[in-house]
Symmetry: C2
Subunit: 141 residues, 2 copies
Amino acid sequence: MGLKGQFQNYLREQGLKSTRQRDIILDAFLEAGVHLSTEELYLKLRPYHPHIGYATVYRTLKLFAESGIAAERHFGDGQARYEANSEEEHHDHLICTDCGKIVEFENHRIEQLQEQVAREQGFCITRHRLDLYGLCPECQT
Amino acid sequence: MGLKGQFQNYLREQGLKSTRQRDIILDAFLEAGVHLSTEELYLKLRPYHPHIGYATVYRTLKLFAESGIAAERHFGDGQARYEANSEEEHHDHLICTDCGKIVEFENHRIEQLQEQVAREQGFCITRHRLDLYGLCPECQT
DNA sequence: CCCCTTTTGAAATCGATTTTCAATTTAATA
DNA sequence: TATTAAATTGAAAATCGATTTCAAAAGGGG
Ligand SMILES: [Mn+2]
Ligand SMILES: [Mn+2]
Ligand SMILES: [Zn+2]
Ligand SMILES: [Zn+2]
């Protein structure tokens, strides 16, 4: 079952409707594939679907996140960004503060240590965020 | 040299001026000592110094961050928060999503692994952010 | 098709942040 | 101490992304 099927299931379960706009936005979102902001997706769609409003893109991305097919991220540039949740593992990010490039990484050992830290403090962790900011290879003169 | 001296040096170096407001705000900021938002500090000051405007508190906290005596943090509640940079080690945070409690922690091994990840990707890290969200001991029923 | 519910799009609103601008203050210099 | 140029202040306005409002339109079960 792909992300599209997963989303359709979510709509059905919640008594929500499948609409032309949601289909179009989901296709564009999956095709874009990067860490996209609401505005970026809206602008990307506009040339082909000028009838789709910003509010609809905004609401639909929220819905993707609720349904679990996407995740909302905040990298400190002031806007929320979304990325598709493939069935792969969770990952964290390296962000270039110069050109904005975002590289994903996974590190199981770090995740384990986070769990350990939380346990020591008596916390029960539901999610975490690890962002590393610096210069990518190209931006180091 | 304490944080106050450090800030005075920064002002001098940058050709900025030492003012009554900056002194008052710095004292209040250092005294408060928690993860304070601009608004919280403004409200804390107001009873004693009703003549100090919100914009001044805002600008002064930014200045603290620029000078290096404070750090700006974002814990996802929509407002920036500031904390004094004691000469102690860097630390990260556990945040209770129920009551908002924030617990600080240090984990040298995690920091090392972050460096290693960055090195593998050719990045040169300047800062990072590790936030663990979940329920604190009190909020786990 | 009917009817009820959900969705849409444009515009308005929201809350935090940031800027504007005229008046005031600082601090270097005469 | 008086002069002066530059920086700062405070109130209000502007900005910015996110979110809501609301009337019109569309979905979909029966
Ligand atoms: Mn990612
Ligand atoms: Mn802290
Ligand atoms: Zn770069
Ligand atoms: Zn709690």
